[in-house]
C-alpha cells in the first residue's frame, strides 16, 4: 500500500504528461505483477466490490476521531471528499504496515465473510497502522470511489513503454469484462492475445470538435482551409443518443456503452436484429429512442437508462433503435484497418439483409458538394434531432481513442440565455472549499426563477473572483447552499431544452454550462422565462 499511496501522491504533484508516464513506469517496474494488475484495474474503473457500507465507514471513523457528527459533516464540506476527510480527521498512526496493495484488496474481498463487529475491528486496525496518505488511498479503494487524475492513455503509454507492445493493442486488451482476480499481468502482456472473452469490445474511436475549444463553430471557408476537398469527406448527422458497440459472437449478444458499461439487458429491442447477424460481427453506432421514422430527444432515452426494470410502459414510451455507422469486425475478422468506404459497404450489406430494419438503421450519409452547403444544412440539425455533423475521412481506418485528423465533430452552436446567479454551493475535488457550483435564474415577471445549475465554463481566476463575491454577498445559508445577492450575470449555453414537470421553471436544459461572465450586463438585462420557453 505504501508504494501505491506514494504513486498517488507523486501523480498528484505533477501536471506534466511525461513526468506522469515516468512515475507510472517507475511504479510498474518496482511492484509485483499482482500489484500491477490491481493498479491497472483500479485506474481503469474496475473497483473491488464495496464490502462495507459507507455509512458504517463514516460512523466508525467518527467514533475514532471523537468529534461530534455535525463537525464531521462540516469537515466533509470543506474537504469535499469522504475518504480524504476521514484520513485527515483520524488520530495519527502509532505503528506502520507493509502489506502490498493486492494483499489489502484480498482482505477487502474477504470481508464478506465477516460480521459487522469483525469488520469494524478490521477497519479500525487498518486505519491505525497507516499514515494519512495511505489511509486516503485505502479509503478510496474501500469505498469504491476510486478516481485518479490520470487518463487511461497515460497508463497504457507507460505499460507500452515497459512491455514493447503497442498502445492500440494494450488498449484493446484491457477493454471489456476482466477482473484482476481472474486476469493476470503475464496474460495481458503475452505476444499473442490470450483472452477468450467473447464479449470484449474494441476501443471506441472518438472525435474532437473541429472548432476545438472555441465557442463558435467554424465557417465554410475555415472548414475548407482545415479539411480541404469536401470529396474526401463523409458527413453523417451527429445523433443525440448513447454511443454503443453491438457485438454478436458465438450466438451471443453484447452491447457496450461508451462508458464501458455492459448494457445488453438495457436494450432488449436490439437483441432480435443482433441474433440475425453473422457470428463475429461488431457494429459501432448510436442507441437511441425512435418513434416511427423520427429519433426522439435525449431526455426520452434518459428516462429509461437508470431503470432496473423496464416495464411495458417504459418500453412502449421509449422504443429503442440502433443507428449503425461503422462495422469493426466482420466474420470474426478485425476490419478496423480497412478504409471507411470499405467498412461502410459491409455495413450497408449487413443492414440490407436484416429483417429488422426499423430497429437496425443506417446512419445516412449526407451528400454535399461544398462546405457552404453543409454549413447551411448544419443549421437545420436541431430540426433533425441531431447535434450537428460527424465528418469522417473516407479512407480513414477505425482508430483507438480520441484522435485528431480523420474524424471530427462539427456541432451546432449552443443555445444561450443571459441569467442571474442566485445560489451557490461548494465544489468537490479540485474545487473543494470554493463556491463553484451555481444555480441560475431568469425573470418571471419581477421574480427570478431558477432554471439551471452549471459548474463549468469559468477560468480559475474567474472562479476565485466569483467565490470571493459569494462569500461577501451571502444573504442566507441553507446547509451547504448559499443564497447570493442577485448581481452577477452570466451567459449560459446549453444543447437542448425540454419541458419538465420536475423543475420549478418548467424546463430542463441539456448540458448547461457557463459560456461567459457578462460583466457588461445588469441583472435587469437578463432573459425571461418566456424567451426561454420559446426555444422549446
Amino acid at each position: 500500500m505504501r508504494a501505491f499511496a506514494k504513486l498517488f501522491a507523486d501523480l498528484d504533484e505533477t501536471n506534466k504528461t511525461n513526468e506522469k508516464v515516468r512515475i507510472l513506469k517507475d511504479y510498474f517496474t518496482a511492484v509485483s505483477d499482482s500489484d500491477k494488475i490491481q493498479t491497472l484495474a483500479l485506474f481503469t474503473g474496475r473497483k473491488p466490490k464495496r464490502q462495507i457500507n459507507s455509512t458504517f465507514v463514516r460512523n466508525w471513523a467518527m467514533e475514532m476521531t471523537g468529534i461530534p457528527q455535525w463537525l464531521f459533516e462540516e469537515s466533509y464540506h470543506v474537504v469535499g471528499d469522504l475518504g480524504e476527510t476521514i484520513s485527515l480527521l483520524l488520530p495519527q498512526n502509532t505503528s506502520t504496515q507493509d502489506k502490498s496493495l493486492s494483499e489489502w484488496i484480498d482482505e477487502i474481498n474477504e470481508l464478506g465473510d465477516l460480521n459487522e463487529e469483525q469488520r469494524k475491528k478490521w477497519l479500525t486496525e487498518a486505519w491505525s497502522v497507516m499514515d494519512q496518505q495511505e489511509r486516503f488511498v485505502f479509503n478510496k479503494v474501500l469505498t469504491g470511489s476510486f478516481r485518479v487524475g490520470v487518463s487511461q492513455n497515460l497508463i497504457i503509454k507507460a505499460l507500452a513503454e515497459i512491455s514493447g507492445l503497442d498502445s492500440a493493442t494494450l488498449t484493446h486488451r484491457i477493454m471489456g469484462n476482466w477482473d484482476p482476480q481472474s486476469f493476470n499481468y503475464p496474460q495481458l502482456m503475452q505476444e499473442q492475445d490470450a483472452s477468450d472473452d467473447i464479449s470484449r469490445p474494441y476501443p471506441f474511436y472518438l472525435a474532437y470538435a473541429i472548432q476545438e475549444t472555441s465557442d463558435k463553430a467554424k465557417s465554410a471557408e475555415e472548414m475548407e482551409e482545415a479539411l480541404g476537398d469536401p470529396a474526401n469527406w463523409q458527413a453523417e448527422w451527429k445523433w443525440d443518443g448513447i454511443r454503443a458497440e453491438a457485438i454478436h459472437r458465438d450466438g451471443k449478444n453484447f452491447v457496450w456503452t461508451r462508458g464501458e458499461d455492459l448494457a445488453t439487458d438495457k436494450f432488449p429491442e436490439l437483441h432480435d436484429f443482433l441474433d440475425e447477424l453473422p457470428d463475429g460481427t461488431v457494429l459501432d453506432g448510436e442507441a437511441i429512442c425512435f418513434s416511427g421514422n423520427c429519433p426522439l430527444p435525449f431526455n426520452v432515452l434518459q428516462t429509461r437508462i437508470g431503470r432496473k426494470n423496464l416495464t411495458k410502459k417504459i418500453l412502449a414510451d421509449s422504443p429503442m433503435a440502433f443507428i449503425a455507422y461503422d462495422c469493426l469486425e466482420y466474420n470474426g475478422e478485425d476490419i478496423r484497418y480497412k478504409p471507411l468506404h470499405e467498412r461502410r459497404k459491409i455495413l450497408e450489406q449487413l443492414q440490407q439483409s436484416s429483417s429488422h430494419q426499423e430497429v437496425f438503421r443506417l446512419s445516412p450519409v449526407v451528400n454535399f458538394k461544398t462546405w457552404q452547403e453543409l454549413y447551411d444544412l448544419r443549421l437545420t440539425a436541431r430540426e433533425n434531432v441531431a447535434e450537428g455533423f460527424m465528418l469522417k475521412r473516407k479512407d480513414s481506418s477505425y482508430q483507438t481513442g480520441r484522435k485528431r485528423g480523420d474524424w471530427w465533430k462539427w456541432k451546432v452552436d449552443p443555445l444561450s440565455v443571459d441569467a442571474v446567479m442566485i445560489y451557490a454551493q461548494k465544489g468537490h475535488g479540485r474545487r473543494a472549499d470554493m463556491y463553484t457550483d451555481y444555480t441560475f435564474a431568469v425573470w418571471d415577471a419581477d421574480k427570478l426563477v431558477p432554471f439551471a445549475k452549471a459548474y463549468s465554463g469559468l477560468t480559475d481566476k474567474e472562479i476565485a473572483q466569483v467565490d470571493n463575491f459569494i462569500k461577501r454577498n451571502t444573504i442566507e445559508k441553507f446547509g451547504p447552499v448559499r443564497t447570493v445577492k442577485p448581481q452577477l450575470v452570466f451567459e449560459i449555453g446549453f444543447e437542448g431544452i425540454n419541458q419538465s414537470n420536475r423543475h420549478k421553471s418548467g424546463v430542463a436544459l441539456r448540458f448547461p454550462r457557463i459560456l461567459r461572465w457578462r460583466h457588461d450586463k445588469k441583472i435587469e438585462e437578463a432573459d425571461t422565462i418566456e424567451s426561454l420557453k420559446e426555444l422549446l
Binding site: 504533484e13 505533477t14 469537515s75 480527521l89 486516503f136 473543494a432 472549499d433 470554493m434 461577501r472
Partner: protein, 363 residues
C-alpha cells in the same frame, strides 16, 4: 445599564472606547494599535500607530511615512487610563497579541498566531484573560500540522533533487513571514538564495530593523540564469504563472501554505510540490491556545468562525462570531494571497499591499 464591553467591533475595527483607540482598524482612525504588519491588519491612513518595535521598518516600507511609536513585548503602557501590553504571537516577526486591561477586566486580541516556535520570530506566549479575540483561519479539525522539521527537510531534499536534475527551484511563500521562515531553514550548503524584488525589499526592511537573517540576492534582469539554477529562488504568490517565473525554465515550483493540507487546494494551485507550512495555528493549536488563556468568552474574527464557535460553545465557552475584515471569509488566503503588482522583470511597480487590498471588498 450594563457596562459597555471593553472592546467592541464597529465599522472601523476593534474599538476600545475607554482608551479611545483601535486595534487593527480597517478604516483610518486616530489611534491604531497594530498586531502585525500583514496588510489585512495594518492598513494605511490612521493618524497614529503603535506596534512592536520589530514591525517598525516593515510598516514604514508598507505604509509609507506614518506616525509610528513602537513598544517591546511585556512592556505595559497606559493609554487614557487603559493598560495595554504587547505579547509574542509567534505568527511572524514582530507579531503580537495585544492585552488590554481596564478596571480589573482583561481582554486579549490575538492577531494571527501559531504555537510552534518557528525559530525566526519570538514564540507564542499564552496570556490569561477574561475575553479572548482569536483568529481561526484553520479552525477545522482537518487541519493538523506536521512537525515543521519534516516540512523543512522536505523542502531541502526537493531542492537537492532539482539541483541534481539541473532544474531551477522556485519556492513560493508570502513575502513577510513565510519567506523568512523558509529562508532560515534552508540548507545553505546547497547554494545561494535568490529573492524576488518584493521579498528582497521585505528582507532589507527587516535587516534595517536589526534582524539577523541569512543572505539573499536580489534577482535583476542581469542575474545569470545558470547561477540561479545552482541556487534557489524565493518568490511571492503573485509571481506564480507570470513571465517573470517562466523565464527560470526548466524549474520546479513549490508552494508553502497551510491550505496545501487539502488535496483540492493543492491541485488548484497546480504546484509541483505543495508544502504544508503555515504561520497560523492548526485546530489543536487553536483549542490549546484558547484553553491556555483561561478565558470565559471567545470572539472569533476570521477563518471558519461559524463551525469553530459552535464547537467552543459545545465544550463550554461563551463563543461568538465577530464580523471583521481580516482575511475574509473562510478559506480566502488572507495573508497568503497575491497582492503585489510586479512587472516582467520582477520589479514592484506598485506594492499593492500598501493600499491594503487584501481584506477589501464591499462592506
Amino acid at each position: 445599564m450594563p457596562r459597555k464591553p471593553l472592546l467592541e467591533f464597529n465599522d472601523c475595527g476593534i474599538y476600545c472606547s475607554a482608551g479611545e483607540f483601535y486595534i487593527d482598524p480597517w478604516k483610518p482612525v486616530d489611534k491604531a494599535l497594530i498586531t502585525h504588519a500583514h496588510s489585512d491588519h495594518a492598513r494605511p491612513g490612521s493618524k497614529k500607530y503603535l506596534a512592536h518595535n520589530l514591525s517598525e521598518e516593515i510598516l514604514k516600507y508598507r505604509l509609507g511615512d506614518i506616525d509610528l511609536e513602537t513598544i517591546s513585548y511585556n512592556e505595559p503602557v497606559t493609554i487614557n487610563g487603559v493598560k495595554i501590553s504587547f505579547h509574542p504571537a509567534g505568527h511572524i516577526i514582530g507579531s503580537s497579541q495585544i492585552r488590554v486591561e481596564y478596571k480589573g477586566e482583561i481582554w486579549v486580541v490575538s492577531g494571527d498566531y501559531k504555537l510552534e516556535d518557528d525559530g525566526v520570530c519570538a514564540p507564542f506566549e499564552p496570556v490569561k484573560c477574561h475575553s479572548f479575540i482569536s483568529e481561526c483561519t484553520f479552525g477545522m479539525p482537518v487541519y493538523k500540522w506536521k512537525p515543521q522539521k519534516e516540512i523543512h527537510d522536505g523542502i531541502n531534499s526537493w531542492w537537492k533533487q532539482n539541483l541534481e536534475e539541473g532544474k531551477a527551484t522556485v519556492i513560493v511563500g508570502y513575502s513577510l513571514g513565510k519567506a523568512q521562515r523558509i529562508l532560515q531553514h534552508l540548507d545553505h550548503s546547497l547554494g545561494k538564495v535568490y529573492a524576488h524584488g518584493v521579498i528582497q525589499n521585505t528582507q532589507e526592511a527587516l535587516l534595517r530593523n536589526g534582524l539577523n537573517l541569512h543572505a539573499t540576492y536580489r534577482i535583476t534582469p542581469e542575474t545569470n540564469k545558470e547561477e540561479i539554477r545552482k541556487g534557489i529562488v524565493l518568490a511571492p504568490p503573485s509571481s506564480v504563472g507570470t513571465p517573470w517565473m517562466r523565464k527560470f525554465q526548466p524549474y520546479g515550483f513549490g508552494y508553502c501554505s497551510g491550505w496545501m493540507a487539502l488535496r483540492g487546494a493543492k491541485r488548484r494551485m497546480a504546484a509541483d510540490r505543495g508544502f504544508v507550512l503555515s504561520d497560523h495555528a492548526d485546530w489543536d493549536g487553536l483549542v490549546q491556545a484558547i484553553e491556555a488563556t483561561e478565558c470565559e468568552t471567545v470572539y472569533l474574527t476570521h477563518g471558519y468562525t461559524a463551525s469553530f464557535s459552535r464547537y467552543l460553545s459545545e465544550i463550554g465557552y461563551d463563543a461568538r462570531e465577530a464580523k471583521t475584515l481580516y482575511g475574509g471569509d473562510e478559506a480566502t488566503e488572507a495573508d497568503e494571497a497575491p497582492v503585489e503588482i510586479v512587472d516582467e522583470e520582477g520589479d514592484v511597480i506598485k506594492d499593492k499591499e500598501a493600499v491594503a487590498e487584501s481584506g477589501g471588498g464591499e462592506l
